[in-house]
Amino acid sequence: MSWKLVLALALVARPAPLIGQNGNGVGATRLAGRVPAAALPAIDSILAAAAAESLPTEPLVQKALEGGAKNIPADRLVNGVRRGLLQLRQARAIVSHAVPGQSPPEGHVAAVAAALARGLTGPIVERLITVAPNEPPGPVLHAAADLVAHHFDPDSAADLLVEAHNKGLRGVRLLDVAVAADHELQRPGGRTPSEALAHVRAMLPNVRPGRP
């Protein structure tokens, strides 16, 4: 497949914007033919509920499309989308608590919901958002989730990321902190997780730029 074709596919395949934010009709336009017909009414009502609560609907549409592509039975598919709605609600509560007095940006809520799905706890997420409330939280939350997935202590991982932020690292550079910690952990000689974190903390902000 040629480069130009891949590029064209990638651009064409970008998720189309939702027609409306009220939920009504969203299922009909993007999900018709992609999910079991029996699941459509329930999904549409979940989307309508999300829109009514000013929650982002795109993650829910994606979950429904995913379930349809995987041929998930209607009842399990609806449960999966409903679970997504619950995570979005929880995420919005965390964001609202972390950044009081502001209307939580959709991007923040979706990123926090994704972090919760990856296993981060509410308090850790809230702490990381509070450090930089006006920055997109996706990278720092993924960095934390990466560290937790590699069996680092969640609070120690958050400490390291907060320090990295204080030393000027932003956005995807915070992912490099998690990569560096993982490299230190796997280095021959057998560092413990806390030793690996201490080593990375000592080298901040000079962690090696990495690839995704």
Binding site: V6, L9, R30, K70, R76
Partner: protein, 210 residues
Amino acid sequence: MSPIDPRLQEALDGERDPGDLPVDLREAYARLNAATQILKATPPVSVASRVMAEIRQNPAPVQGEGPGRRLIQWLGRPRAVTVRLRPVWTLALAAGLAAVLVLQWRRGGPAPGVAQGIANFVGQFPGAQSVEVVGSFNDWSRGMLHLNDDDGDGIWHAKAVLPAGQHEYMFVVDGERWVPDPLAGRYVDDGFGAGQQNSVLIVRPVSAQP
């Protein structure tokens, strides 16, 4: 070409009296002589003479004159250019250009593109007939992004330009087997209750890639 009889040649050259020729050669002489008279009566403006006249009118460039000098001479030589425009099309063209300029001014210059990055997908699937990537970046649609294994070593790969940010995806092998990317390093439960995990890809914007 058959050789001409020398006696006929001599008669044509005026070196022999045509009356001395045998009867058959005398007839040939008469035919050739008539043809000569016809040619003599034809005006001298032949193709060759026209070509030669043209060459004399536009002599070839002097030897040693370089192509650069000839180009400069060609560019410097005045030429008449006639452009015929209907007023209605001229006005439409001007209006179009003005609209483009106004739009650019209102936007404050060309709008920046969506932040994108390059994603590399690699998977080892020996014996597979097809491998594709399906994920949130293509609305979980099948048939959009296929991996290739051109050398048949069982290692399938594809590159794609994707929007920067987080994407969930899976490989679909042989059109029916959904498998997470073993090299993804990040996974998340897909939430449908069967314990299946999606791979998580974080695409860095090109400006942030090392």
